[in-house]
Protein backbone atom coordinates (compact mmCIF):
# COMPACT_ATOMS: atom_id res chain seq x y z
CA UNK A 1 0.00 0.00 0.00
CA UNK A 2 1.17 3.47 -0.79
CA UNK A 3 -1.43 5.44 1.15
CA UNK A 4 -0.50 8.86 -0.16
CA UNK A 5 -1.14 7.88 -3.75
CA UNK A 6 -4.62 6.36 -3.45
CA UNK A 7 -7.26 8.55 -5.14
CA UNK A 8 -10.82 9.34 -4.08
CA UNK A 9 -13.59 8.35 -6.47
CA UNK A 10 -15.63 11.09 -8.13
CA UNK A 11 -18.49 10.94 -10.63
CA UNK A 12 -18.56 12.92 -13.83
CA UNK A 13 -21.70 14.99 -13.34
CA UNK A 14 -21.58 16.89 -16.59
CA UNK A 15 -19.38 17.22 -19.65
CA UNK A 16 -19.29 20.59 -21.39
CA UNK A 17 -17.81 20.87 -24.89
CA UNK A 18 -15.84 24.09 -24.81
CA UNK A 19 -13.93 23.96 -28.10
CA UNK A 20 -13.18 21.21 -30.64
CA UNK A 21 -10.36 19.94 -28.36
CA UNK A 22 -11.26 21.19 -24.86
CA UNK A 23 -13.92 19.77 -22.58
CA UNK A 24 -14.87 20.72 -19.05
CA UNK A 25 -15.63 17.81 -16.73
CA UNK A 26 -17.81 18.76 -13.78
CA UNK A 27 -17.06 16.36 -10.92
CA UNK A 28 -18.75 15.39 -7.66
CA UNK A 29 -17.23 13.13 -5.05
CA UNK A 30 -19.11 9.85 -4.61
CA UNK A 31 -19.16 10.45 -0.86
CA UNK A 32 -21.38 13.54 -0.35
CA UNK A 33 -19.87 14.33 3.08
CA UNK A 34 -16.42 14.35 1.52
CA UNK A 35 -17.63 16.62 -1.28
CA UNK A 36 -19.03 19.05 1.25
CA UNK A 37 -15.76 19.29 3.13
CA UNK A 38 -13.65 19.39 -0.06
CA UNK A 39 -12.09 22.81 -0.25
CA UNK A 40 -9.43 24.32 -2.48
CA UNK A 41 -7.92 27.67 -3.34
CA UNK A 42 -7.87 29.17 -6.84
CA UNK A 43 -4.73 27.99 -8.65
CA UNK A 44 -4.46 24.60 -6.96
CA UNK A 45 -4.46 21.40 -8.96
CA UNK A 46 -5.56 17.78 -8.69
CA UNK A 47 -4.22 14.48 -9.94
CA UNK A 48 -7.00 13.20 -12.19
CA UNK A 49 -7.14 9.58 -13.23
CA UNK A 50 -9.10 7.61 -15.69
CA UNK A 51 -8.36 4.29 -14.00
CA UNK A 52 -6.47 1.90 -16.21
CA UNK A 53 -5.33 4.70 -18.52
CA UNK A 54 -3.26 6.87 -16.21
CA UNK A 55 -3.12 9.87 -13.99
CA UNK A 56 -2.64 13.47 -15.13
CA UNK A 57 -2.26 16.86 -13.51
CA UNK A 58 -5.01 19.44 -14.08
CA UNK A 59 -5.83 22.66 -12.34
CA UNK A 60 -9.27 23.03 -10.83
CA UNK A 61 -10.96 25.48 -13.16
CA UNK A 62 -13.84 26.46 -10.86
CA UNK A 63 -13.84 28.26 -7.54
CA UNK A 64 -14.65 26.72 -4.17
CA UNK A 65 -16.94 29.69 -3.57
CA UNK A 66 -19.31 27.72 -5.83
CA UNK A 67 -19.90 24.63 -3.82
CA UNK A 68 -21.05 21.11 -4.48
CA UNK A 69 -18.85 20.39 -7.50
CA UNK A 70 -15.51 21.19 -9.08
CA UNK A 71 -14.44 21.52 -12.71
CA UNK A 72 -11.42 20.30 -14.64
CA UNK A 73 -11.06 21.64 -18.16
CA UNK A 74 -9.05 19.24 -20.26
CA UNK A 75 -7.45 19.80 -23.63
CA UNK A 76 -6.77 16.78 -25.79
CA UNK A 77 -2.99 16.85 -25.97
CA UNK A 78 -1.46 13.47 -25.12
CA UNK A 79 -2.25 9.81 -24.53
CA UNK A 80 -4.34 10.01 -21.36
CA UNK A 81 -6.19 13.18 -22.38
CA UNK A 82 -7.11 11.54 -25.69
CA UNK A 83 -8.51 8.55 -23.75
CA UNK A 84 -10.40 10.89 -21.42
CA UNK A 85 -12.00 12.65 -24.39
CA UNK A 86 -12.90 9.46 -26.20
CA UNK A 87 -13.93 7.23 -23.29
CA UNK A 88 -15.02 9.25 -20.27
CA UNK A 89 -18.77 9.77 -20.19
CA UNK A 90 -21.22 11.41 -17.82
CA UNK A 91 -21.97 9.14 -14.85
CA UNK A 92 -18.60 7.39 -14.96
CA UNK A 93 -16.09 7.36 -12.10
CA UNK A 94 -12.70 9.02 -12.06
CA UNK A 95 -10.01 9.04 -9.36
CA UNK A 96 -8.97 12.34 -7.82
CA UNK A 97 -6.11 13.22 -5.48
CA UNK A 98 -5.64 16.70 -4.12
CA UNK A 99 -5.95 19.61 -3.99
CA UNK A 100 -2.20 20.14 -4.26
CA UNK A 101 0.19 23.03 -4.75
CA UNK A 102 0.09 26.67 -3.78
CA UNK A 103 -2.51 29.17 -4.98
CA UNK A 104 -2.89 32.67 -6.32
CA UNK A 105 -1.93 35.18 -3.60
CA UNK A 106 -5.49 36.25 -2.84
CA UNK A 107 -4.42 38.40 0.10
CA UNK A 108 -1.72 40.26 -1.84
CA UNK A 109 -4.13 41.15 -4.62
CA UNK A 110 -6.84 42.48 -2.28
CA UNK A 111 -7.58 46.17 -2.82
CA UNK A 112 -5.78 46.11 -6.19
CA UNK A 113 -6.85 46.54 -9.79
CA UNK A 114 -6.81 43.12 -11.41
CA UNK A 115 -5.78 42.45 -14.97
CA UNK A 116 -6.23 38.88 -16.21
CA UNK A 117 -4.42 37.96 -19.41
CA UNK A 118 -5.32 34.52 -20.75
CA UNK A 119 -4.74 32.56 -23.94
CA UNK A 120 -6.50 29.36 -25.04
CA UNK A 121 -6.69 26.70 -22.34
CA UNK A 122 -4.69 29.11 -20.15
CA UNK A 123 -7.98 30.64 -19.07
CA UNK A 124 -8.75 27.47 -17.06
CA UNK A 125 -6.63 28.27 -13.96
CA UNK A 126 -7.52 31.96 -14.28
CA UNK A 127 -11.23 31.11 -14.30
CA UNK A 128 -10.95 29.66 -10.80
CA UNK A 129 -9.54 32.98 -9.56
CA UNK A 130 -11.90 35.08 -11.69
CA UNK A 131 -14.90 33.28 -10.17
CA UNK A 132 -13.41 33.64 -6.71
CA UNK A 133 -12.86 37.37 -7.18
CA UNK A 134 -16.32 37.91 -8.72
CA UNK A 135 -17.80 36.19 -5.65
CA UNK A 136 -15.77 38.55 -3.43
CA UNK A 137 -16.07 41.51 -5.79
CA UNK A 138 -15.94 44.23 -3.11
CA UNK A 139 -12.38 43.19 -2.17
CA UNK A 140 -10.97 44.23 -5.55
CA UNK A 141 -10.92 47.45 -7.61
CA UNK A 142 -10.96 47.57 -11.44
CA UNK A 143 -11.40 44.16 -12.97
CA UNK A 144 -10.20 43.57 -16.54
CA UNK A 145 -10.08 40.29 -18.43
CA UNK A 146 -8.16 40.05 -21.71
CA UNK A 147 -8.67 36.67 -23.35
CA UNK A 148 -7.54 35.44 -26.72
CA UNK A 149 -7.44 32.30 -28.82
CA UNK A 150 -6.36 31.30 -32.29
CA UNK A 151 -9.90 31.28 -33.68
CA UNK A 152 -13.32 32.15 -32.27
CA UNK A 153 -14.17 28.47 -31.91
CA UNK A 154 -11.08 27.99 -29.70
CA UNK A 155 -12.41 30.34 -27.01
CA UNK A 156 -13.38 28.46 -23.83
CA UNK A 157 -16.28 29.13 -21.46
CA UNK A 158 -18.30 31.05 -24.08
CA UNK A 159 -21.51 31.18 -22.03
CA UNK A 160 -19.69 32.31 -18.93
CA UNK A 161 -17.82 34.98 -20.87
CA UNK A 162 -21.19 36.33 -22.06
CA UNK A 163 -22.22 36.64 -18.41
CA UNK A 164 -18.96 38.42 -17.61
CA UNK A 165 -19.59 40.80 -20.50
CA UNK A 166 -23.05 41.60 -19.10
CA UNK A 167 -21.59 42.28 -15.63
CA UNK A 168 -21.07 46.07 -15.43
CA UNK A 169 -18.30 45.72 -12.86
CA UNK A 170 -16.09 43.71 -15.24
CA UNK A 171 -14.31 44.80 -18.40
CA UNK A 172 -13.88 41.95 -20.86
CA UNK A 173 -11.73 42.20 -24.00
CA UNK A 174 -11.68 39.31 -26.44
CA UNK A 175 -9.37 38.74 -29.36
CA UNK A 176 -8.61 36.13 -31.99
CA UNK A 177 -5.42 35.79 -34.02
CA UNK A 178 -6.88 36.20 -37.55
CA UNK A 179 -10.01 37.94 -38.92
CA UNK A 180 -13.22 35.91 -39.28
CA UNK A 181 -16.35 36.98 -41.11
CA UNK A 182 -18.73 37.00 -38.18
CA UNK A 183 -16.17 38.21 -35.59
CA UNK A 184 -16.77 41.78 -34.44
CA UNK A 185 -14.27 41.96 -31.57
CA UNK A 186 -10.51 42.54 -31.64
CA UNK A 187 -8.18 40.75 -34.01
CA UNK A 188 -4.52 40.24 -33.14
CA UNK A 189 -2.37 38.28 -30.75
CA UNK A 190 -2.79 38.85 -27.01
CA UNK A 191 0.38 40.92 -26.37
CA UNK A 192 -0.49 43.26 -29.26
CA UNK A 193 -4.03 43.86 -27.96
CA UNK A 194 -2.61 44.30 -24.47
CA UNK A 195 -0.37 47.12 -25.66
CA UNK A 196 -2.67 48.74 -28.22
CA UNK A 197 -6.19 48.27 -26.85
CA UNK A 198 -6.05 47.51 -23.12
CA UNK A 199 -3.14 49.89 -22.35
CA UNK A 200 -3.28 49.08 -18.64
CA UNK A 201 -2.03 51.43 -15.95
CA UNK A 202 0.58 49.88 -13.71
CA UNK A 203 -0.45 51.77 -10.61
CA UNK A 204 -1.85 49.52 -7.88
CA UNK A 205 -2.38 46.77 -10.46
CA UNK A 206 -1.66 43.03 -10.34
CA UNK A 207 -1.49 41.06 -13.58
CA UNK A 208 -2.43 37.39 -13.55
CA UNK A 209 -1.52 35.60 -16.75
CA UNK A 210 -1.59 32.10 -18.19
CA UNK A 211 -1.43 30.74 -21.71
CA UNK A 212 0.74 28.89 -24.19
CA UNK A 213 4.52 29.43 -23.72
CA UNK A 214 4.83 31.66 -26.80
CA UNK A 215 2.03 33.94 -25.58
CA UNK A 216 3.54 34.12 -22.08
CA UNK A 217 6.94 34.97 -23.54
CA UNK A 218 5.65 37.97 -25.52
CA UNK A 219 3.13 39.01 -22.88
CA UNK A 220 5.96 39.31 -20.34
CA UNK A 221 7.89 41.49 -22.80
CA UNK A 222 4.81 43.70 -23.31
CA UNK A 223 4.18 43.99 -19.57
CA UNK A 224 7.79 44.96 -19.10
CA UNK A 225 7.40 47.63 -21.80
CA UNK A 226 4.24 48.90 -20.11
CA UNK A 227 6.25 49.32 -16.92
CA UNK A 228 4.96 46.50 -14.73
CA UNK A 229 7.27 45.30 -12.00
CA UNK A 230 8.05 41.53 -12.23
CA UNK A 231 6.73 41.08 -8.68
CA UNK A 232 3.29 42.35 -9.79
CA UNK A 233 3.01 39.77 -12.57
CA UNK A 234 1.69 36.39 -11.44
CA UNK A 235 1.56 33.26 -13.54
CA UNK A 236 1.02 29.55 -13.12
CA UNK A 237 3.55 27.12 -14.47
CA UNK A 238 3.01 23.96 -16.46
CA UNK A 239 5.44 21.18 -15.56
CA UNK A 240 5.33 17.43 -15.86
CA UNK A 241 4.16 16.10 -12.49
CA UNK A 242 3.10 12.75 -11.15
CA UNK A 243 2.83 12.56 -7.40
CA UNK A 244 1.92 16.18 -6.62
CA UNK A 245 3.43 15.60 -3.17
CA UNK A 246 7.04 16.72 -3.55
CA UNK A 247 8.33 13.15 -3.74
CA UNK A 248 8.60 11.80 -7.29
CA UNK A 249 11.20 14.34 -8.42
CA UNK A 250 9.68 15.15 -11.79
CA UNK A 251 8.77 18.81 -11.49
CA UNK A 252 12.02 20.05 -9.95
CA UNK A 253 13.50 23.26 -11.27
CA UNK A 254 16.68 23.65 -9.29
CA UNK A 255 15.74 23.12 -5.66
CA UNK A 256 12.16 24.24 -6.31
CA UNK A 257 9.34 21.72 -6.37
CA UNK A 258 6.74 23.15 -8.76
CA UNK A 259 4.09 20.88 -7.21
CA UNK A 260 4.73 22.25 -3.71
CA UNK A 261 6.30 25.71 -4.09
CA UNK A 262 4.19 26.34 -7.20
CA UNK A 263 2.51 26.10 -9.61
CA UNK A 264 1.81 29.79 -8.97
CA UNK A 265 4.87 32.06 -9.18
CA UNK A 266 5.47 35.75 -9.71
CA UNK A 267 7.55 36.68 -12.74
CA UNK A 268 10.20 37.90 -10.28
CA UNK A 269 10.39 34.41 -8.74
CA UNK A 270 10.59 32.73 -12.15
CA UNK A 271 13.53 34.93 -13.09
CA UNK A 272 15.51 33.53 -10.15
CA UNK A 273 15.06 29.89 -11.24
CA UNK A 274 17.44 27.99 -13.54
CA UNK A 275 16.23 28.29 -17.12
CA UNK A 276 14.70 24.84 -17.35
CA UNK A 277 10.92 25.09 -17.73
Amino acid sequence: MEQLLVPVLCKVDKIIDETPDIRTYRLKMNDPARMESFSWMPGQFVEFSLLGHGECTFCISSSSTRQGYFDCSIKRAGIVTADIHSQLEEGMDVGIRGPYGNWFPIDDIKGKNLLFVGGGIGLAPLRSLIQYCIDNRKDYKDFTILYGARTSSDLCYKEEIEEWQKNPSLKVILTIDKPEETWKDNVGVVPKILEEVVKPKTENTKVITCGPPIMIKYTLISLDKLGFSPSDVITTLEMKMQCGLGKCGRCNIGSTYVCKDGPVFTYAQLKSLPDEF
Binding site: L51, G52, H53, K247, G249, N252, S255, E276, F277
Partner: protein
Protein backbone atom coordinates in the same frame (compact mmCIF):
# COMPACT_ATOMS: atom_id res chain seq x y z
CA UNK B 1 23.42 8.45 26.51
CA UNK B 2 25.84 5.90 27.93
CA UNK B 3 27.88 4.16 25.33
CA UNK B 4 26.86 0.55 25.13
CA UNK B 5 29.85 -1.28 23.74
CA UNK B 6 30.56 -4.97 23.64
CA UNK B 7 34.05 -6.38 23.14
CA UNK B 8 34.10 -9.74 21.46
CA UNK B 9 35.97 -11.71 18.82
CA UNK B 10 35.13 -13.26 15.45
CA UNK B 11 33.44 -16.29 17.05
CA UNK B 12 31.42 -14.08 19.36
CA UNK B 13 30.29 -12.00 16.41
CA UNK B 14 29.22 -15.10 14.47
CA UNK B 15 27.19 -16.17 17.50
CA UNK B 16 25.61 -12.72 17.69
CA UNK B 17 24.63 -12.89 14.01
CA UNK B 18 23.21 -16.37 14.43
CA UNK B 19 21.12 -15.25 17.37
CA UNK B 20 19.72 -12.33 15.38
CA UNK B 21 18.84 -14.52 12.41
CA UNK B 22 17.12 -16.93 14.79
CA UNK B 23 15.06 -14.25 16.49
CA UNK B 24 14.22 -11.74 13.75
CA UNK B 25 13.14 -11.50 10.16
CA UNK B 26 16.66 -10.85 8.88
CA UNK B 27 18.07 -9.54 5.63
CA UNK B 28 21.77 -9.67 4.73
CA UNK B 29 24.11 -9.60 1.73
CA UNK B 30 23.86 -12.91 -0.15
CA UNK B 31 26.35 -13.90 -2.82
CA UNK B 32 25.29 -14.94 -6.30
CA UNK B 33 27.66 -15.17 -9.27
CA UNK B 34 30.29 -13.23 -7.36
CA UNK B 35 27.96 -10.34 -6.58
CA UNK B 36 26.10 -9.50 -3.40
CA UNK B 37 22.55 -8.37 -2.77
CA UNK B 38 20.36 -8.01 0.31
CA UNK B 39 18.10 -11.05 0.68
CA UNK B 40 15.93 -12.56 3.39
CA UNK B 41 18.10 -15.14 5.21
CA UNK B 42 17.24 -18.00 7.55
CA UNK B 43 20.72 -19.09 8.56
CA UNK B 44 24.11 -17.43 8.74
CA UNK B 45 25.73 -19.78 6.23
CA UNK B 46 23.48 -18.36 3.48
CA UNK B 47 24.87 -14.87 3.75
CA UNK B 48 27.93 -12.80 4.37
CA UNK B 49 27.27 -9.75 6.57
CA UNK B 50 30.86 -8.71 5.99
CA UNK B 51 30.86 -9.14 2.24
CA UNK B 52 34.21 -7.88 1.01
CA UNK B 53 32.63 -5.93 -1.83
CA UNK B 54 29.65 -3.61 -2.00
CA UNK B 55 26.24 -5.06 -2.71
CA UNK B 56 25.29 -4.37 -6.32
CA UNK B 57 21.91 -2.93 -5.38
CA UNK B 58 21.71 -0.60 -2.41
CA UNK B 59 19.55 -1.32 0.65
CA UNK B 60 16.96 1.12 -0.77
CA UNK B 61 14.50 -1.48 -2.18
CA UNK B 62 13.81 -2.79 1.33
CA UNK B 63 12.30 0.61 2.14
CA UNK B 64 11.34 1.94 -1.26
CA UNK B 65 10.46 -1.16 -3.30
CA UNK B 66 11.34 -1.28 -6.99
CA UNK B 67 7.66 -1.75 -7.69
CA UNK B 68 4.87 -1.31 -5.17
CA UNK B 69 1.15 -1.73 -5.67
CA UNK B 70 -0.76 1.43 -4.84
CA UNK B 71 -4.25 -0.06 -5.15
CA UNK B 72 -6.51 -2.36 -7.09
CA UNK B 73 -9.61 -1.27 -8.96
CA UNK B 74 -12.60 -3.01 -10.49
CA UNK B 75 -15.24 -1.58 -12.77
CA UNK B 76 -18.76 -2.94 -13.15
CA UNK B 77 -22.19 -1.60 -14.07
CA UNK B 78 -22.56 0.14 -10.71
CA UNK B 79 -19.30 2.04 -11.07
CA UNK B 80 -15.72 1.68 -9.90
CA UNK B 81 -14.44 0.16 -6.67
CA UNK B 82 -10.98 0.90 -5.35
CA UNK B 83 -9.49 -1.55 -2.88
CA UNK B 84 -6.30 -1.92 -0.90
CA UNK B 85 -3.68 -4.33 -2.07
CA UNK B 86 -2.18 -7.05 0.08
CA UNK B 87 -0.26 -6.04 3.18
CA UNK B 88 3.08 -4.29 2.92
CA UNK B 89 5.71 -7.06 2.97
CA UNK B 90 8.27 -4.69 4.51
CA UNK B 91 6.19 -3.25 7.35
CA UNK B 92 7.05 -5.82 10.03
CA UNK B 93 9.86 -5.88 12.58
CA UNK B 94 13.13 -6.84 10.95
CA UNK B 95 16.89 -6.55 11.10
CA UNK B 96 19.26 -5.86 8.24
CA UNK B 97 22.84 -7.06 8.64
CA UNK B 98 25.92 -5.95 6.76
CA UNK B 99 24.84 -2.46 5.80
CA UNK B 100 27.83 -0.33 4.78
CA UNK B 101 28.18 3.24 6.02
CA UNK B 102 27.22 4.73 2.68
CA UNK B 103 24.09 2.63 2.36
CA UNK B 104 22.89 3.51 5.86
CA UNK B 105 23.60 7.18 5.26
CA UNK B 106 21.56 6.87 2.07
CA UNK B 107 18.50 6.05 4.16
CA UNK B 108 19.02 9.14 6.31
CA UNK B 109 19.21 11.19 3.14
CA UNK B 110 16.01 9.60 1.78
CA UNK B 111 14.25 10.28 5.10
CA UNK B 112 14.39 14.00 4.34
CA UNK B 113 12.28 13.83 1.19
CA UNK B 114 9.82 11.36 2.67
CA UNK B 115 9.16 13.36 5.80
CA UNK B 116 8.78 16.88 4.46
CA UNK B 117 5.28 18.22 4.03
CA UNK B 118 3.30 15.12 3.02
CA UNK B 119 4.65 12.36 5.22
CA UNK B 120 5.02 8.99 3.58
CA UNK B 121 3.75 6.84 6.43
CA UNK B 122 4.46 3.57 4.62
CA UNK B 123 8.11 4.44 4.26
CA UNK B 124 8.28 5.69 7.86
CA UNK B 125 6.79 2.50 9.22
CA UNK B 126 9.37 0.44 7.36
CA UNK B 127 12.11 2.64 8.79
CA UNK B 128 10.81 2.54 12.34
CA UNK B 129 10.43 -1.21 12.37
CA UNK B 130 13.89 -1.93 11.02
CA UNK B 131 17.12 -2.27 12.95
CA UNK B 132 20.18 -1.59 10.86
CA UNK B 133 23.46 -3.24 11.74
CA UNK B 134 26.61 -2.15 9.99
CA UNK B 135 29.10 -4.15 8.01
CA UNK B 136 32.72 -4.02 9.02
CA UNK B 137 34.13 -1.55 6.51
CA UNK B 138 37.85 -2.19 6.88
CA UNK B 139 39.07 -0.90 3.57
CA UNK B 140 37.73 1.42 0.91
CA UNK B 141 36.69 -0.06 -2.42
CA UNK B 142 38.08 1.29 -5.68
CA UNK B 143 35.07 3.59 -6.25
CA UNK B 144 34.34 4.52 -2.61
CA UNK B 145 34.49 8.17 -1.52
CA UNK B 146 32.15 8.37 1.49
CA UNK B 147 34.77 10.08 3.65
CA UNK B 148 34.98 12.99 1.20
CA UNK B 149 31.38 14.11 1.56
CA UNK B 150 29.26 16.13 3.97
CA UNK B 151 28.92 13.50 6.68
CA UNK B 152 31.18 12.22 9.40
CA UNK B 153 31.61 8.50 8.73
CA UNK B 154 33.31 7.79 12.04
CA UNK B 155 30.63 9.49 14.13
CA UNK B 156 27.70 8.60 11.89
CA UNK B 157 24.40 7.78 13.57
CA UNK B 158 22.96 6.08 10.51
CA UNK B 159 23.20 2.58 11.99
CA UNK B 160 21.43 1.32 15.07
CA UNK B 161 24.35 -0.95 15.82
CA UNK B 162 27.88 -0.63 14.52
CA UNK B 163 30.40 -3.41 14.19
CA UNK B 164 34.08 -2.50 14.06
CA UNK B 165 37.20 -4.60 13.74
CA UNK B 166 39.84 -3.36 16.14
CA UNK B 167 43.42 -3.37 14.94
CA UNK B 168 44.10 -5.42 18.08
CA UNK B 169 42.20 -8.42 16.68
CA UNK B 170 39.11 -7.75 18.78
CA UNK B 171 35.66 -7.03 17.39
CA UNK B 172 33.45 -4.33 18.86
CA UNK B 173 29.66 -4.23 18.79
CA UNK B 174 28.45 -0.74 19.57
CA UNK B 175 24.90 0.52 20.08
CA UNK B 176 24.45 3.82 18.26
CA UNK B 177 20.73 4.39 18.81
CA UNK B 178 18.33 3.49 21.61
CA UNK B 179 16.77 0.91 19.33
CA UNK B 180 20.21 -0.69 18.99
CA UNK B 181 20.90 -0.57 22.70
CA UNK B 182 17.59 -2.23 23.53
CA UNK B 183 18.43 -5.04 21.13
CA UNK B 184 21.91 -5.59 22.57
CA UNK B 185 20.53 -5.64 26.11
CA UNK B 186 17.85 -8.14 25.13
CA UNK B 187 20.67 -10.47 24.08
CA UNK B 188 22.10 -10.21 27.60
CA UNK B 189 25.37 -8.87 26.23
CA UNK B 190 27.56 -7.09 28.75
CA UNK B 191 28.83 -3.62 28.09
CA UNK B 192 32.56 -3.34 28.36
CA UNK B 193 34.67 -0.44 29.64
CA UNK B 194 34.53 2.00 26.71
CA UNK B 195 37.97 3.61 26.94
CA UNK B 196 40.10 1.01 25.20
CA UNK B 197 37.30 0.17 22.80
CA UNK B 198 36.79 3.80 21.80
CA UNK B 199 40.48 4.15 21.20
CA UNK B 200 40.50 1.01 19.06
CA UNK B 201 37.48 2.20 17.07
CA UNK B 202 39.11 5.52 16.42
CA UNK B 203 42.32 3.79 15.27
CA UNK B 204 40.23 1.62 12.98
CA UNK B 205 38.69 4.67 11.33
CA UNK B 206 42.07 6.31 10.84
CA UNK B 207 43.31 3.26 9.00
CA UNK B 208 40.01 3.06 7.10
CA UNK B 209 40.28 6.64 6.00
CA UNK B 210 43.87 6.15 4.84
CA UNK B 211 42.72 3.40 2.48
CA UNK B 212 40.76 5.72 0.16
CA UNK B 213 41.93 6.16 -3.39
CA UNK B 214 39.26 8.77 -4.21
CA UNK B 215 39.18 12.07 -2.36
CA UNK B 216 37.47 15.34 -3.11
CA UNK B 217 37.08 18.70 -1.45
CA UNK B 218 33.32 18.59 -1.00
CA UNK B 219 32.64 22.17 0.04
CA UNK B 220 34.69 23.49 -2.83
CA UNK B 221 32.94 21.25 -5.38
CA UNK B 222 29.54 22.21 -3.96
CA UNK B 223 30.33 25.93 -4.00
CA UNK B 224 31.69 25.82 -7.56
CA UNK B 225 28.82 23.77 -8.97
CA UNK B 226 26.32 26.30 -7.66
CA UNK B 227 27.67 28.72 -10.24
CA UNK B 228 28.20 26.26 -13.07
CA UNK B 229 24.68 25.59 -14.35
CA UNK B 230 25.76 26.84 -17.77
CA UNK B 231 29.03 24.93 -17.88
CA UNK B 232 29.76 23.37 -21.31
CA UNK B 233 31.50 20.53 -19.43
CA UNK B 234 28.14 18.85 -18.80
CA UNK B 235 28.06 17.96 -22.47
CA UNK B 236 31.53 16.40 -22.36
CA UNK B 237 31.02 14.38 -19.19
CA UNK B 238 27.68 12.97 -20.33
CA UNK B 239 28.56 12.18 -23.94
CA UNK B 240 29.24 8.47 -23.35
CA UNK B 241 26.05 7.88 -21.35
CA UNK B 242 23.67 5.42 -23.02
CA UNK B 243 20.76 6.49 -20.75
CA UNK B 244 20.27 2.96 -19.41
CA UNK B 245 19.35 4.34 -15.94
CA UNK B 246 21.27 1.61 -14.09
CA UNK B 247 22.90 4.29 -11.91
CA UNK B 248 19.56 5.58 -10.67
CA UNK B 249 18.11 2.14 -9.98
CA UNK B 250 20.99 0.98 -7.82
CA UNK B 251 21.69 4.35 -6.18
CA UNK B 252 20.96 4.43 -2.42
CA UNK B 253 19.41 7.90 -2.69
CA UNK B 254 17.77 8.23 -6.11
CA UNK B 255 14.08 8.36 -5.36
CA UNK B 256 12.28 9.46 -8.51
CA UNK B 257 9.33 7.25 -9.29
CA UNK B 258 6.48 6.93 -11.73
CA UNK B 259 2.89 5.88 -11.40
CA UNK B 260 1.41 3.50 -13.95
CA UNK B 261 -1.73 1.47 -14.45
CA UNK B 262 -2.18 -2.07 -15.67
CA UNK B 263 -5.69 -3.03 -16.66
CA UNK B 264 -7.04 -6.26 -18.05
CA UNK B 265 -10.71 -6.21 -18.98
CA UNK B 266 -12.50 -4.56 -16.05
CA UNK B 267 -9.90 -4.89 -13.33
CA UNK B 268 -6.50 -3.41 -12.77
CA UNK B 269 -3.67 -2.41 -10.50
CA UNK B 270 -1.90 0.90 -10.08
CA UNK B 271 1.85 0.69 -9.47
CA UNK B 272 4.56 2.97 -8.16
CA UNK B 273 7.95 2.08 -9.62
CA UNK B 274 11.44 3.49 -10.05
CA UNK B 275 12.08 6.10 -12.67
CA UNK B 276 15.09 8.21 -13.50
CA UNK B 277 15.79 11.78 -14.54
CA UNK B 278 18.06 10.30 -17.22
CA UNK B 279 15.02 9.08 -19.12
CA UNK B 280 14.24 11.27 -22.11
CA UNK B 281 10.51 11.16 -21.40
CA UNK B 282 10.93 12.00 -17.70
CA UNK B 283 9.86 15.62 -18.10
CA UNK B 284 8.12 15.31 -21.46
CA UNK B 285 4.68 16.89 -21.32
CA UNK B 286 1.58 16.09 -23.32
CA UNK B 287 1.73 18.43 -26.27
CA UNK B 288 5.45 17.86 -26.75
CA UNK B 289 7.16 20.45 -24.54
CA UNK B 290 10.19 19.03 -22.71
CA UNK B 291 12.32 21.23 -20.43
CA UNK B 292 15.20 18.73 -20.59
CA UNK B 293 15.08 17.45 -24.16
CA UNK B 294 18.77 16.57 -24.53
CA UNK B 295 21.05 14.22 -22.62
CA UNK B 296 23.48 16.73 -21.17
CA UNK B 297 20.62 18.66 -19.57
CA UNK B 298 19.38 15.48 -17.92
CA UNK B 299 22.89 14.71 -16.69
CA UNK B 300 23.21 18.25 -15.43
CA UNK B 301 20.00 17.73 -13.45
CA UNK B 302 21.35 14.46 -12.05
CA UNK B 303 24.68 15.96 -10.96
CA UNK B 304 23.23 19.23 -9.69
CA UNK B 305 20.36 17.52 -7.84
CA UNK B 306 22.87 15.31 -6.08
CA UNK B 307 25.51 17.91 -5.27
CA UNK B 308 23.62 21.24 -5.11
CA UNK B 309 19.81 21.25 -5.14
CA UNK B 310 19.09 18.61 -2.50
CA UNK B 311 21.70 20.09 -0.20
CA UNK B 312 20.11 23.51 -0.66
CA UNK B 313 16.66 22.16 0.03
CA UNK B 314 17.20 19.56 2.74
CA UNK B 315 20.69 20.29 4.08
CA UNK B 316 22.24 16.98 3.02
CA UNK B 317 24.08 15.89 -0.10
CA UNK B 318 22.11 13.52 -2.32
CA UNK B 319 25.21 11.45 -3.10
CA UNK B 320 26.71 9.36 -0.30
CA UNK B 321 29.89 8.30 -2.11
CA UNK B 322 29.12 4.57 -2.30
CA UNK B 323 30.43 4.18 -5.84
CA UNK B 324 27.63 1.74 -6.77
CA UNK B 325 26.86 3.70 -9.93
CA UNK B 326 30.46 3.76 -11.12
CA UNK B 327 30.85 0.01 -10.54
CA UNK B 328 27.72 -0.89 -12.51
CA UNK B 329 27.82 1.71 -15.26
CA UNK B 330 28.27 -0.04 -18.64
CA UNK B 331 30.27 2.90 -19.99
CA UNK B 332 32.30 3.66 -16.85
CA UNK B 333 30.80 7.00 -15.92
CA UNK B 334 31.38 7.89 -12.29
CA UNK B 335 29.50 10.65 -10.49
CA UNK B 336 32.79 11.38 -8.70
CA UNK B 337 34.51 12.14 -12.03
CA UNK B 338 31.51 14.05 -13.38
CA UNK B 339 31.29 16.58 -10.57
CA UNK B 340 35.04 16.92 -10.27
CA UNK B 341 35.49 17.54 -13.96
CA UNK B 342 32.70 20.14 -14.10
CA UNK B 343 34.02 21.86 -10.98
CA UNK B 344 37.60 21.83 -12.26
CA UNK B 345 37.53 25.40 -13.54
Amino acid sequence: MNVFLVETDKTGLQKFYEEIIGKFETYAPVEKFGKYDYKRVLKLSECNPDSPIETTMSVKPLFFPKTAKIMKFVEDSSGTTVSETEEDPFAGKRVILGVKHCDARGLQVLDQVYKWDYIDTDYQKRRENTIIISARCDKAGAQCFCTSLDYDVENSDAHDIRIVNGLNGKTYIQAITEKGETLLKSFSLQSTAPDVAKDEISKHYKSFEASFRLKMNYSEVNAKLQKLFDSPEFETVSSNCISCNTCAFICPTCHCFKISDEKIKDAGVRYKSYDSCNNGYFTLMAGGHNPRPVKYRRWRQRAMHKFVYYKERFGVNLCVGCGHCAISCPVNISIFDVVNQVAKV
